[in-house]
Structure formats: structure tokens, C-alpha cells
């Protein structure tokens, strides 16, 4: 075993030397020299690789946090709809879950990206569903606290904007994960015994009150562990951003690897970041489980 490890190390060092690839993390402080489409904070091509990677990490967190919030809301809604007594409602929800879970996320991301860039009109003919909100093939624009978007030349300025890449990634991640969360919520509510509902009804609580005060607090214990693993999946899946051109951590690290040739360091950075996130979340889970007991 040690022999194999030594051989691999020897090969790697020989290869690195033959290809004139530097090793070590010194490259992090060199000038990156590439622009980033939508930096989460101030960044220019003259900044270092370290700053570029930090921008990528911030972009990963941005899409993951928004995606988790959207997927939770949507998933809980769909999960509860699946439990509805109304045949139309629960079959629509079931169809959604069945369809979304059986199609690869990457296909869904490409689909949303194609839909935004191909099916939506040019900025000049942008859809205008609400005052100040514009949908166009250059992205989604909506008012911020300080300004509203205005058409200037070929695109909108002012307000807040979601680029097509970000909007597609966010929509894809949220809609995909929501289907899995819906199943978790449904299973959690079903895990509560019939008697709890009956007792709540006997006390004169309505369906909604019973859910809110009796069932939900108990179901949450069943729901939270698998839910956190879905949050973790969403965060890991946000790395598919590289396929549609949203500058997340993996996509920036990929550019870094292509420019510097330092694949080992680049991949080590990606893995270290995701492992830290995973371990932090499972640490939280253990703490949460211990607290419930």
C-alpha cells in the first residue's frame, strides 16, 4: 500500500517536472487576468487568483442560500398539496414530483437556460408582468430599494438583475430539490399517527390548526435529518453551474486550472471547500439529533 503511494507520488513529481508545472499554492497570489461575469463583490482581472476563487465561493453561497430558501418553500407547499383530499390538487403535485425526479438536473438546467435565452423576448420587447419587473432574454430585472430598471440602449440598467445563467441555475436547483423535499415533507406528516389528528379534531381544531400546532412540531423531527441532506445536495449540485456558465467556485477553479495547469491544487481547493461544508452540516445534524433525544 505504501509502495503504491510512493510510486504514485514519484510518477506525479516526474510528470509535473516534465510538463514544467509548478506546484504549491503560490499561484494564488498572482494576477488572475480573467474577468468574472457577475462577481458577488468588487473584482477585476487585475486581482489575484485567491480573490477570484473567493468570488466564486461567494457566488456558490449566494445561489445555494437562495436556492435552499426557494426549494424549502416550494417543496413544503407541494408536499402538503400531495396530502390534500382534493383529487386534482394531489394528483397535480404527484405528477410534478414524478416528472422532476426522473429527469437529470443537468437536462433541467439546460432547459431553463434555453427557455430564458430563446423563448423570452429581447429587452426592447421585454415581458412586463408587474410594474418595474421585466423578463427578457438578457435576464430578469426587478426594482431594488433605490432604483427601478430602465431600458437604456440594448439592455436595462438600474434595479436588481438576475442574469440568465443565475436565473436558470436558481430555478433549476430550486425546482429539482423541491420535488425531493416534497417527498420528505409528505413522509414526515404521514409518519404521525392517525390518533394525533383525531385527538386534535376532537379538541375542535381545524385541519390547518391541527397541522400547525399538533402535527408539524412532531413531523419536524422526522423531516429535519433528510432535509439537511437535501440542502447539502443542493449545495453540491450548484457546481453544475460550470455547464451553463455561472461563475461559481467550481467554474472559477476550472478556469484557474486551465490557466495555471495546477490541477492538483485546484481540485484540492474544490474538495476542501465542499468537504468543509459537508462536515459542518453533518456536525450540525449530530448536534440537532442529540438535542432532540
Amino acid at each position: 500500500m505504501l509502495g503504491v503511494a510512493a510510486l504514485l507520488l514519484f510518477n506525479t513529481l516526474a510528470n509535473l517536472e516534465a510538463r514544467r508545472i509548478a506546484s504549491g499554492f503560490a499561484f494564488l497570489w498572482r494576477e488572475a487576468g480573467f474577468e468574472i461575469g457577475e462577481p458577488a463583490f468588487a473584482y477585476s482581472a487585475a486581482d489575484s487568483y485567491a480573490r477570484a476563487l473567493a468570488v466564486g465561493l461567494a457566488n456558490t453561497f449566494k445561489v445555494a442560500v437562495l436556492g435552499i430558501a426557494a426549494a424549502t418553500l416550494l417543496g413544503t407547499g407541494i408536499g402538503l398539496l400531495r396530502l390534500s383530499k382534493n383529487t386534482l390538487l394531489h394528483s397535480l403535485a404527484a405528477a410534478y414530483v414524478e416528472f422532476v425526479r426522473n429527469v437529470p438536473l443537468l437536462v433541467q438546467l439546460f432547459f431553463w437556460y434555453a427557455l430564458i435565452t430563446e423563448a423570452l423576448p429581447h429587452p426592447r420587447a421585454a415581458l412586463h408582468p408587474l410594474p418595474g419587473v421585466f423578463l427578457s432574454n438578457r435576464g430578469v430585472f426587478f426594482p431594488s430599494f433605490s432604483s427601478t430598471p430602465v431600458l437604456e440602449g440594448f439592455n436595462f440598467t438600474g434595479g436588481m438583475a438576475l442574469t440568465p445563467e443565475f436565473a436558470a441555475l436558481l430555478a433549476g436547483l430550486a425546482l429539482y430539490t423541491a420535488a425531493f423535499i416534497a417527498e420528505i415533507v409528505r413522509a414526515g406528516v404521514l409518519a404521525i399517527e392517525r390518533g394525533q389528528w383525531d385527538a386534535a379534531h376532537a379538541l375542535g381544531l381545524s385541519w390547518r390548526q391541527a397541522l400547525r400546532h399538533v402535527v408539524a412540531p412532531q413531523a419536524l423531527r422526522v423531516i429535519v435529518p433528510p432535509l439537511t441532506s437535501q440542502y447539502l445536495n443542493l449545495t453540491k449540485n450548484s457546481s453544475l453551474a460550470v455547464a451553463i456558465g455561472y461563475p461559481d467556485l467550481v467554474s472559477i477553479a476550472n478556469t484557474t486550472i486551465n490557466q495555471t495547469g495546477q490541477a492538483i491544487e485546484g481540485i484540492a481547493i474544490i474538495m476542501a471547500v465542499y468537504l468543509t461544508i459537508s462536515l459542518a452540516i453533518s456536525g450540525f445534524m449530530n448536534w440537532y439529533n442529540a438535542r432532540l433525544k
Partner: protein
Amino acid sequence: MNRVWTALLAVIALFLAWKFVDWAFIEAVWQPDARACRAAHGACWGFIADKHRFILFGTYPYEEHWRPAAATLLLISLWAFSSIRIFWKWWLALVWLFGLLIIAFLMWGGLGGLPYVENERWGGLILTLLLTTFGLAFAFPLSILLALGRRSTLPVIRGMCVAYIELVRGVPLISLLFMASVMLPLFLPAGVSVDKLLRAQIALILFAAAYLAEVVRGGLQAIPAHQYEAANALGLTYFQSTLWIVLPQALRIAVPPLVNTFIGFFKDTSLVLIIGLFDLLSTIKVSLNDPAWTGFGVEAYLFAAAVYFVFCFAMSQYSRRLERQEPVGQGR
């Protein structure tokens, strides 16, 4: 009140369904004619009609397309055949071995008058199915070893298995694929090279093994302690009791969640697109680069979704049917 809402919702759902049917079928263009497509209001399925050979077979030589077609049908038949429980016998392994040999002969050729086709030219649906099949075939035995290792009483073995499983499950598949495509060549001695397809396949195997190991571990945990005790009392060694008593029961329990993991893995093979392999999704995406057909991404990806859905839905229905059937070899 409730009825009013239901009626309103039904009207909206029907309206949207009608809009979709109108776009996807009534107004759609089915002939491979890009100009007609751009003029029409409906979907452009002509794109798929024009590109179907490339989508299904990638860059495989055009005159030889019957070979990947036959291999695809054979592989799907093997899967369908293996789903029938009465065939779960030892000779099923021989059926697979024989089937895969025929597939290898069809795909590579080079014998009996079939021209040789190097695997850089393989692509499309068969590549997706082969990556899935070989990924699972190699990952499954590895996952059993990992799961057993994770329950081992030897701290070194247990520690290594836990570390491996948690490491792989903690990082995105893309990082493993990048590792296989850019890092693996650095590990090999000068002059030795492993082709791209094999490198991606290795990454997929290592990835699937970690996830399958957790499912197998679930099955192992479901075996009651008295089974182990009874095996010990009969004087069986660890190896004997694992092979003859514990594993057969644990794997039977684990079949439905295993099928669900298979579905996830089948979907995940689409990520090889990112490192430049021509799987089904990749051939569809590349077809859109043809200047005559740019701008039909919505139709292209709906088609991709439909193909993946057919396979995944069939597998998930199968898994559900297995779950409903009474558990086998259990109880007393």
C-alpha cells in the same frame, strides 16, 4: 367555496395543458426543415428528426450505425431480463457475461469482417447505457466490501472505509470527474495513458461505490443479531457466515433502495458532458451548434428529458412494485 377553487384550478390546468398540446403537437413542425420551423408557432420536432442519428449514435461511423443500435437493444433487453425475479440465479451472471461480450464485439468490431471502431468515436444513448452498466457492475462489489469494512471490528479498516465513503459523498461528482480527466494522467508513469472514456468510467465507479455502500450498510443493519449468533453457533467463520447467511438477506432487503440509487446514478452519468464525453445529453447539446438549427434548445432538452424520463420512470415503477411485494426470505 372549495368547489369553486377546484373548478378554477381545473380551468387553469386545462388551459395550460391545451396551450402545451397546441405548441407541442398541433402547431408543431415534424419535417426536418429549419425554415418551416422558424416560420411556425409550434415546436420544432424536425430538429430531432434531422439529428436523430447523431443524437443516438454520436460520431460512430454512419454506415455502421446498426452496430450500436443492436448493442443498445441487447443491453436494454439484458436489464429487462434481469428485472424478473425468477431469473435471479447464479447463471444470470453468465448471461450478462455473454451479452457484454457480444456488445463489446459489436461496438469495437475488428473481427469477422466488422471494421474496428475505437472507443473515442462511441457516443449517444449506448454510451450513457454503457457508463451506467459498467459503473454499477464494478461499483456494486466494491460497495459491498466498503459496507462490510465500515462494520468491521478492525479500527484501521473501519477508519479507511468511513473516510473513503464520507470523502466521496462530501464532494460534488464534478470534482471527481475533473480529477479523473486532469489529475489521473499525472499519476501515471510517462508513456502510459488511459483514454478519456475509461478515466470517466473509473471516476463514476468510485463515486457510485460510496453511495451504494451506504445502501448496502442499511441492508446489513436490518439483519437481526440472532442471525449472526446462529451462524456463529453453527461454527461458521466470518467469511462463511457473511457470504452464506448475512449478505443474501441484506441484499434482498436493500433491493428497492438500490434501484433508487441506480436511478440517481443513471441521471448522474449525464455529467460526463462537462469533461467532453459524447453521452446522450452531450450529442443533443452538440447538435444545437449546427448553425441551421441554433435556437431550438427548448425542444432539444424536452426530448432529452423525455428519453431520460422513460428509463428512470420504468426503474422507479419497478422499485415500487418490489417494495409492495412481500419481503422475501425474512421473518419467522
